[in-house]
Subunit: 199 residues, 2 copies
DNA sequence: ACGAATCGATACGAACCGTTTCGTTTACTG
DNA sequence: CAGTAAACGAAACGGTTCGTATCGATTCGT
């Protein structure tokens, strides 16, 4: 094997790769998305534009990869929600934290950019679901299943549906800016979900 | 007054305006949104590009106006939901219809384009809420209020929240393509909402 | 020291945006 | 019917961005 291979230049590759992804995150977080151009990313990363196009086919793909790398940093330690046994308290904690996250301008711009790309690109949407959305949903579902087994949710409850009812209103309110994302709002979503799917 | 005014050229204006809006709708409905350019709209409408820029400041605004004109055609006859007295049946009818609407490819592309523009343009989002979303929401809320007065919903129920719980999951599932928009799914959203906000 | 992989930089064509310009058509007026 | 002014279609233009092509320099293993 060793005589089949040339020199290993993977360290260089990795360094420029990280520089590109870091620069992309910084740019998307700090300016309006329209101002994030491939050339700006290349300049910020101290990299030639072609080095970006050698790895990703489009700007969308770069932005997505930049976001994806974030969640893969926290690898191994698979996502898990708090489970104190008190479902209502646990969910309110999570929903309040999610609402606060959306209020952060940098995060806001990042996720808006991602959603805009996703809305018109089915392939990217599928990758988003598989690599970013699914793991989180599974973690939430695991928490609900635990509650269901403890008799805190109806035994026949559709947990996927419950998750949607819990989270989708928050997401929509954020995306359309149709109302404030307060802690009280987060709480009321938990309350409604528990009324709908409680025992 | 009459001697103060020159000739009235409003008929020409109106004709080209309609041609532009119609062409925009056709283009957005039939191709991917990236392929809809202002020049393509002008060509399809048989109109100079400048005639478009005389009226609207950007492509986003044109696309939005094209959509808005649709709902203003059905003017006067303000939106109203069926009210047979059977809340569950009425809501399931509406939610099933909404789910079907999203399944239409032309409508799908149109609304995706709108959402992509809205996601990164707060001003456009505000106009969207005011002119398109609000009237529909008010109609739905009126139906819920009628049910509330009939004792079919909890007297203290937050109707805005109930609407979000009812509709947001469908919207999110469509936007992220995270599942099929079946009649059974529409029904289960109504069921969940009624469990959460019923008496 | 040498060769191969990778790189940064730069020039380029194509597409699109939004502006400007210009000669023409349209609708009304006297 | 001739004159006027608003609105128009067409076309050219500068500016920006995308994605590609090219090339000499740098990095790494041998």
């Amino acid at each position: 094997m060793s005589n089949e291979k040339g020199p290993d230049h993977s360290r260089r590759k990795e360094r420029s790769r990280q520089a590109i992804l870091t620069a992309t995150r910084a740019l998307v977080a700090e300016e309006a998305y329209e101002k994030v151009t491939v050339e700006a990313i290349a300049a910020r990363a101290g990299v030639g534009k072609q080095t970006i196009y050698r790895r990703w086919p489009s700007k969308s793909a770069v932005v997505f990869a930049a976001l994806l790398a974030l969640s893969e940093d926290a690898d191994g330690q698979s996502v898990a929600l708090p489970d104190t046994g008190d479902l209502e308290a646990d969910l309110k904690l999570v929903m309040r934290a999610t609402a606060e996250e959306f209020a952060d301008p940098a995060f806001d711009r990042l996720i808006r950019a991602l959603n805009a790309e996703i809305a018109n690109d089915a392939a990217l949407a599928a990758e988003y679901r598989e690599k970013l959305a699914q793991p989180l949903e599974e973690a939430k579902k695991a928490r609900l299943r635990s509650a269901q087994e403890a008799g805190q949710l109806d035994a026949d409850a559709d947990l996927d549906l419950a998750l949607e009812v819990l989270y989708a209103p928050l997401f929509r309110r954020w995306l359309h800016r149709s109302g404030p994302l307060t802690a009280a709002y987060a709480d009321s979503l938990v309350d409604a979900t528990l009324r709908a799917f409680g025992p």
